[in-house]
């Protein structure tokens, strides 16, 4: 898990209510990327979001570089 991420239990009713919303969000996100509408991609993130790219080799070695 990324440092700063805290896992907490969620009440089942709330989880059920949010699931559809979260799945729709993921579907919209994927549809935008599949269509190549890259200019719309940043809108899915909050202003203070950090999008960090890494590779398996470096993630396992604890190294920070993520070249695309």
């Amino acid at each position: 898990m990324l440092p700063g991420f805290v896992s907490a239990p969620v009440a089942p009713e709330l989880a059920r209510a949010l699931r559809a919303e979260i799945e729709e969000f993921h579907a919209a996100y994927c549809a935008v990327l599949d269509a190549g509408r890259i200019e719309e991609w940043p809108a899915f993130f909050t202003a203070d979001a950090l999008y960090r790219i890494t590779g398996r080799e470096n993630a396992e070695a604890g190294l920070p570089v993520g070249l695309v």
Binding site: P64, V65, G66, L67, V68
Partner: protein, 142 residues
């Protein structure tokens, strides 16, 4: 057209050098490079005549501040297979590879800049390439 975030091109003068970029090729398959504040190597590992792997390694100093490390990582997007600068280099290598494959059984003309070899006063020359091939022929005993 302008970048929304210009920090990727920020340059912190950390060495006593007039240059913002330097690339040193160590024969036959290694480039040691500095591009602004990115420090790295490009290492070609051939897998036969038609294929190679390019290994990119990027460096920082142990004593770098977290801000400098973030800066090097952000600026590192200039490099790599799809880097803003690296992408073009990779395409150029593909052109070279395609050309080599077409001329493998014969000879190729490498006369940009005439026939001088080694150091040159201009970038518009293949002097360094001619030197490389001369050395390559010696090593391969051709």
């Amino acid at each position: 057209m302008k970048l929304h975030d210009g920090r990727i091109l920020d340059y912190v003068r950390e060495f006593r050098s007039p240059w913002s970029v330097t690339m040193q090729t160590i024969w036959p398959n290694l480039v040691v490079q500095r591009e602004l504040n990115t420090l790295g190597t490009r290492h070609i590992v051939p897998h036969g005549p038609d294929e190679f792997t390019m290994i990119w390694t990027m460096f920082g100093y142990k004593g770098d501040t977290p801000e400098m490390t973030r800066h090097r990582l952000r600026q590192g997007n200039l490099m790599g297979p799809a880097g803003f600068l690296g992408l073009e280099d990779n395409e150029a290598m593909k052109f070279v590879q395609d050309g080599l494959e077409k001329s493998r059984a014969g000879a190729a003309v490498v006369e940009l800049g005439g026939r001088e070899e080694g150091s040159s006063r201009t970038l518009i020359t293949e002097a360094a390439i001619r030197s490389m091939y001369r050395h390559w022929r010696q090593v391969m005993e051709l």
